[in-house]
């Protein structure tokens, strides 16, 4: 079973006819590490599903400072929700960190699929609900937890990411400078 069908089957059951209908509206592309799939200033036309590899989304402030919004590894979705929904230019970059195979679902096709396979509306609704809960949690954590606590939570929640993602990017995701992150890591190792 392809990773994306696997991902969907966890929430809704599609008939094989529906599966074929869905697959026909998806595009699969391979990207090399250090490629940019979405630039800030562009309109996001796709949701991206990662079959393999690693992606990240981030913004740039003060000309050169990167703020990581999210990571996506196998079985995860990523995109610029604001830009996708509004069809206005967004602020997010989506970059490939490790050679990846990515499934692209265009907003246009997604709308068509909602008509053709109503179950998919349920799937994306639940995906969006989960995402909302995760974002709520992350927002509250950023407001109330210390950097150490946020880092420990990150390690518990995403143990595979800790191995794959460069330190500098985890620091950015947690919301601290790389220098602070190094010092914090050594402190935590000593404990």
């Amino acid at each position: 079973m392809t990773p994306i069908l696997d991902n969907i089957s966890k929430i809704v059951k599609l008939s094989s006819d529906e599966e074929q209908r869905l697959l026909s509206r998806l595009e699969t592309k391979k990207f090399k590490a250090k490629s940019i799939i979405l630039n800030a200033g562009e309109v996001c036309k796709y949701s991206y599903f990662v079959n393999s590899g690693l992606l990240r989304s981030f913004t740039i402030n003060d000309h050169i400072v990167e703020h990581v919004l999210s990571f996506a590894c196998e079985g995860w979705w990523i995109g610029d929700m604001y830009s996708l929904l509004s069809q206005k230019p967004g602020n997010l970059f989506v970059e490939v960190l490790e050679d990846a195979e990515v499934v692209l679902l265009s907003k246009e096709n997604q709308e068509i699929l909602y008509q053709e396979i109503p179950k998919l509306e349920r799937f994306f609704r639940i995906l969006t609900e989960n995402s909302l809960v995760a974002n709520q949690e992350r927002l509250m954590d950023n407001l109330s937890l210390s950097a150490e606590e946020r880092f420990e939570k990150f390690c518990k929640k995403y143990p595979t990411l800790i191995q794959k993602v460069p330190q500098k990017q985890i620091a950015s995701y947690i919301g601290v400078t790389p220098e602070f992150f190094s010092k914090m890591k050594s402190r935590l190792l000593k404990k």
Partner: protein
Amino acid sequence: MKNTILHKANTRGHADHGWLNAHHTFSFASYYDPNRVQFGVLRVLNDDIVAAGMGFGTHPHDNMEIITIPLEGDLAHKDSMGNTEIIKFGDVQVMSAGTGIQHSEFNPNHDQRTNLLQIWVFPKERNVEPRYQQITLDTSDRHNKFQQILSPNSDDDGVWIHQDAWFHMGNLDAGTTVNYQRKLEGNGLYIFVIKGSVKVDGQQLEQRDGLGITDFDEVIFEATSDTELLLMEVPMLAN
């Protein structure tokens, strides 16, 4: 074994905001290319054209060595340390942003544009005391030779910064050959052709091209036309 990386002029990021026509050798603001982020500690090399009377309103910097070299016209600078200065062609300005500063930069003339190079280098040490320095150089001292415009040492030629970097400028007549010797082991050299054309160890470079060289001791420059060069020797990052 020398390694080189070539950045042709037209591969630079470009943003034309009307009042500001900017070319970015390295990722900057909305120009982001993961393969063009930095050369060692050299993080930003911007080639900016600022329209008469226009400029950058007050904005902050921290933990960055910022070097400004006017190529054409003047630049009026005002900062939170109390410095109010005009820099012009022949001058070199540096700000060690350190713990933090704010500054504005404007083209003070109403009848001509300003073209400047702005260079950002990561400092060796974080959170230094912010400082400002501005010097005027005799450009004839860079005729057919390299004139040092920046170094790590306050008692050496040019401005100084909190980093083991040396910058030189050279105006070479067509047909002239000059060598550059590395100052510090491990440093790389980033060459920016301000004007003209030059062969660098045989590699032909044209106006506004950039070339990064690592694992070198000496580099040979052969001007194929009257050429103006900026050489930036900087520490490379362990990776």
